[in-house]
């Protein structure tokens, strides 16, 4: 059982604060580190993997500091986001080299086992430079698993993968999680995290925005107020019909845009209501656009929640 503890950690680069007073604890099972691009996910993973010192606070693995402590790598397996991995080596040579660097007693056997685990034996004699993105990701996984670590850290592991590769990797990670390993992966895609992790940590603009069970956070995301921009054949009539329903919290007539700005409290209720109301009143809808559906706005809602 291995636990990474981040305690009151901040990290700044010059005047830019990348991570701001974050505390969290990552235990066994799969944890998703979710946040929009630039939120500080990579900075956090770099600190958890010992490649960046926190400006303040501590990052520890079972109580031992991670920064400048090479012994922690006996327990940590790392799958970095960058793809470079000694392109001139074959998959086999690469994983074997990683096993040797760990000082394992039987590096050949360990490399064979790791390559079998990620189902890459069929391409192990090819140079890694010729691999597809998904193959590289799997060989990187094999190199991270070769010493049977208790902790697996993955930085944006699904980036650039096709759906089939994505499912394969998810299966693999689920197995590790079920084995009682501590698996942490970062992602900026909600659906990815939803499919894989029950426990999530959300970071937004360097701050720890939410933590806990995914379903709870998803509910918060679904039932938050949604804003829409709507243009129709008769905006005033539509507004008066909509405001009568409890799923609408507020409506504003935007003269410049020549549109209605609607705030809905219940996402599902409103999306069903709008076409029905329009049809009944004989109003044609020209534009129905969510005004704040970007991940960033979803996250900032979470921060203020």
């Amino acid at each position: 059982m291995a636990t990474i503890t981040i305690d009151k950690v901040s990290r700044w680069f010059g005047n830019v604060v990348a991570v701001n007073d974050v505390s969290m604890s990552i235990g066994p099972g799969i944890t998703g580190l979710l946040g929009p691009n630039g939120a500080g996910k990579s900075t956090l993973i770099h600190m958890m993997s010992g490649f960046l010192a926190p400006s303040t606070g501590t990052v520890t693995l079972d109580g031992a500091p991670i920064w400048r402590n090479q012994e922690v790598y006996r327990q940590i397996g790392l799958v970095p986001e960058r793809e470079s991995m000694y392109d001139y080596l074959t998959g086999w040579e690469f994983v074997l080299a990683n096993a040797e660097l760990h000082g394992l007693p039987h590096p050949g056997a360990a490399a064979r086992k790791a390559l079998a685990l990620v189902e890459m034996e069929y391409a192990q004699e090819r140079r890694t430079g010729t691999y597809s993105k998904g193959m590289k990701q799997r060989v990187k996984m094999a190199s991270a698993l070769v010493h049977d670590p208790a902790v697996l850290l993955l930085d944006e592991p699904f980036n650039g993968m096709d759906p089939r590769q994505r499912l394969q990797l998810m299966d693999l990670l689920r197995r590790f999680g079920a084995d009682g390993r501590t698996v942490l992966f970062s992602s900026h895609i909600l659906e990815e995290v939803e499919q894989l992790a029950r426990h999530i940590e959300v970071v937004v603009a360097g701050r720890h925005a939410a933590s806990g069970d995914f379903r709870k956070i998803r509910r918060l995301m679904t039932y938050r107020p949604h804003r829409y921009l709507v243009r129709s054949s008769d905006d005033r009539k539509l507004a008066s019909a909509l405001i009568a329903d409890p799923s609408t919290a507020g409506i504003e007539l935007d003269w410049q845009e020549k549109a209605l700005r609607i705030q809905a409290v219940n996402f599902q209720g409103f999306t069903t209501l709008l076409p029905q109301v329009a049809q009944r009143a004989g109003i044609r809808l020209y534009t129905v656009a969510p005004a704040d559906e970007s991940l960033e706005s979803v996250f900032s809602y979470l921060v203020s929640a």
């Binding site: 939120a39 090479q70 790598y73 991995m85 000694y86 040797e100 000082g103």
Partner: protein, 238 residues
């Protein structure tokens, strides 16, 4: 020495096109020497020009730069160094292994052809061939250590290395007496002077000072590189 680090470094340096690029140095030196030997007989001054100015003064620092920085800077640049660093491996061991490989390659591609060129042009006369070989050995080791350090501390290792080797040692060293004394090339010359027959070569630094300075640079650069590697920060991509 870690054999796996050594193997990876060696393949990184000699594999692909870089290996061919490195071959340019000995081939160029041998060609010029062969041409000189064939055309103008065995003049002391010509040997000093070819082995001293071309070999020791120009080709060796360039070779040291390509090898010293290539031994680590490439991996730091592309991020693959992560696979060496995310291991329970003492950082000084990574540095000393890489340095040993870099020195070995620098010697193979500079000191050996230097000896062959010297013998080709001048035989064993005045001990010149051996003297320049000795200079290439000590200077090659010091350049390797210095340029390996640059590879760890700066992302612009090649530019910084060129600035030192070409601007400081060659340009400034030619005009400013003091600068000449702080130059790996001149420390190598001090060693060459002591090996060659008396009066055949001159240097601006005494042998004692040169040996001390060479050792200080090599050891300090290695220690500093190990310390810097232990605290290497991978730039955040965000």
């Amino acid at each position: 020495m870690n054999p796996t680090v050594a193997r990876l470094t060696l393949r990184g340096l000699l594999g692909r096109r870089r290996g061919l690029l490195l071959l340019v140095v000995p081939v160029l030196l041998l060609l010029v020497s062969a041409f000189a030997a064939a055309s103008s007989g065995n003049h002391h001054d010509l040997v000093v020009d070819i082995l001293g100015k071309l070999g020791l003064g120009t080709l060796l620092p360039i070779l040291g730069l390509v090898v010293g920085t290539g031994a680590i800077a490439t991996e730091i640049d592309d991020g693959s160094i992560v696979y060496l660093l995310a291991k329970p491996l003492p950082r000084w061991k990574i540095i000393t292994t890489k340095l040993t490989v870099a020195i070995g390659i620098t010697w193979a591609f500079s000191a050996v052809p230097m000896l062959l060129s010297g013998l080709l042009m001048y035989g064993t006369k005045e001990g010149l061939a051996l003297a320049y070989t000795a200079a290439a050995l000590v200077a090659g080791a010091a350049y390797s250590a210095l340029f390996l350090l640059l590879g760890v501390v700066t992302r612009h290792a090649v530019v910084a290395g060129l600035a030192y080797a070409l601007v400081w040692e060659s340009v400034i060293g030619n005009f400013v007496e003091g600068a000449r004394k702080l130059s790996i090339q001149q420390w190598g010359m001090a060693v060459a002077e002591s090996v060659a027959a008396e009066g055949s070569l001159t240097s601006v630094v005494s042998l004692g000072a040169a040996v001390v300075l060479l050792l200080v640079v090599a050891v300090a650069a290695t220690v500093l590189a190990s310390v810097k590697l232990a605290g290497l920060t991978l730039a955040s991509e965000e």
